[in-house]
């Protein structure tokens, strides 16, 4: 069984990157961006505490509901829109194959 999915990340210059992301490594979007050396800092290490991995969901992908911690962090972040998400809180699973995310400004 194929255990990778496609993740499309649009960087801050507007360039689109097609990433192959493994579903069996317990990874999230912030981590996959860092693995591909995209400019995502992930300062807090994935605890929804810094918003340096904020991105905008641009596909119709259905994501699990946001946790209270993620919503609280987005409350204190900037450039937040209705489709804002924290990359570190989006798990790489089969359900999000083909997801398109645009990195929020720093």
């Amino acid at each position: 069984m194929d255990s990778t999915i496609k993740v499309i990340i649009i960087d801050r210059e507007g360039t689109s990157h097609d990433l192959e992301a493994p579903t069996d490594m317990n990874m999230n979007i912030m981590e996959i961006c860092k693995a591909y050396e995209l400019p995502v800092e992930g300062t807090c290490g994935g605890m929804a505490l810094c918003a340096s991995c904020q991105c905008y969901l641009e596909s119709n992908t259905t994501l699990p509901e946001q946790s209270e911690a993620e919503l609280a962090m987005l409350d204190e972040a900037f450039y937040v829109k209705d489709n804002s998400r924290l990359g570190c809180q989006i798990r790489i699973t089969d359900e999000i194959d083909g997801i398109v995310l645009r990195l929020a400004p720093k």
């Binding site: 807090c44 605890m47 810094c50 204190e76 900037f78 450039y79």
Partner: protein
């Protein structure tokens, strides 16, 4: 003046454990941290979170780990300067470094180990054009003394607990003459009773609550200080509001801080080190834990423990160039404190 063998900048888990390893070599340490208590991000950010990758502990809460580390290091009686931020480091006579904090506390030692983790926690500043020009001219990110705002018009922005708490404090104690709270959404995520209090104050017209809006711009007055803020409302458009103070309260974010100005090689917001002994490009200055970088770096507490252990061996050789040193096992010699 505090004189010691090793000044450790940062009192997180790695800084604290470095005290222990230095103590085994009879080196004394003094820790400096901008936070009011030791433990770094483990205490400040996630004291209740479980950690699973500390050898020998299948599971340990961050706060508990810090307490254990403090207990382990306590035999070597480290000194602490807490709640003060290191602002300068200078090399003074005979291979000594002078490290000074924002409150003017001076520390001197032949070796400095930077264990600064994520760096210094600074207020998160909203992306408003030229905001920095009005700092201390009406724009403040931290409320140091509420009396400063007595009789003044104040605009607070933010939706977290600190925005709510300060709005309530300034209103209930009748300190500010006028208070407006601006928040991007309609609802608040703070403590329920704080949210209720803010709603009540708004109903009683003791504060002005402006939701679905953000402060988007600053308009100066005739003397070049803050005159008005431009509040961008989701449906009503821009509202110009005259005010004496604008206080954005959006929590804290880590930054490298003054370490960036010490002539150390910096790469990707971290201090470059030699993995032989975790020394920086400046002799006598080392960097351990999350603040350093090298090929293959892993930001793990356990890696930091290893880095600190090697750094103090090298520090010993620098402090006592003519003394022989050999690794001793605690199982053989036990631990004799100071």
């Amino acid at each position: 003046m505090i004189q010691t063998d090793i000044i450790i900048v940062g009192a997180g888990p790695v800084g604290i454990f470095t005290v222990f390893e230095a103590g085994l070599l009879k080196l004394r340490c003094h820790l400096i941290d901008s936070l009011p208590q030791p433990g770094g991000q483990l205490i400040e950010i996630y004291p209740k979170k479980p950690i699973y990758d500390i050898p020998g502990y299948p599971i340990v809460n961050a706060g508990e780990l810090v307490n254990k580390l403090l207990e382990q290091s306590s035999v070597f009686k480290p000194g602490f300067t807490l709640g003060e931020t290191v602002v300068s480091l200078e090399e003074v006579s005979d291979n000594q470094f002078l490290v000074t904090t924002n409150r003017g506390t001076k520390h001197q030692a032949p070796v400095v180990i930077i264990a600064g983790g994520l760096g210094v926690f600074e207020p998160r500043k909203p992306p408003i054009e030229n905001l920095n020009l009005y700092e201390d001219k009406g724009v403040e990110y931290i409320i140091k003394d509420p009396e400063f705002y007595r009789g003044k018009r104040v605009v607070i922005s933010g939706g977290g607990d600190s925005a709510l708490d300060w709005t309530i404090y300034l209103a209930e104690n009748k300190i500010a003459a006028e208070i407006a709270l601006v928040h991007r959404r309609t609802s608040f995520r703070g403590h329920l009773d704080s949210v209720q209090k803010v709603m009540d104050l708004a109903d009683q017209k003791r504060i002005q609550l402006i939701t679905d809006a953000e402060v988007a711009g600053i308009v100066p007055n005739n003397s070049g200080s803050l005159g008005s803020v431009v509040i961008r409302h989701a449906t009503l458009g821009d509202i110009i509001k005259e005010t004496d103070h604008f206080i954005p309260l959006f929590g804290l974010t880590p930054s490298l801080g003054p370490i960036a100005d010490w002539g150390l090689e910096i790469e990707k917001n971290a201090v470059k080190v030699n993995t032989f002994d975790y020394s920086t490009n400046r002799k006598g200055i080392y960097a351990v834990g999350d603040i350093n970088t090298y090929p293959g770096k892993l930001k793990l507490i356990l890696s930091g423990f290893h880095e600190g252990t090697l750094a103090v061996q090298s520090a010993f050789a620098k402090i006592y160039p003519n003394k022989k040193n050999v690794l001793k096992y605690t199982t053989v010699n036990g631990v004799s404190g100071f």
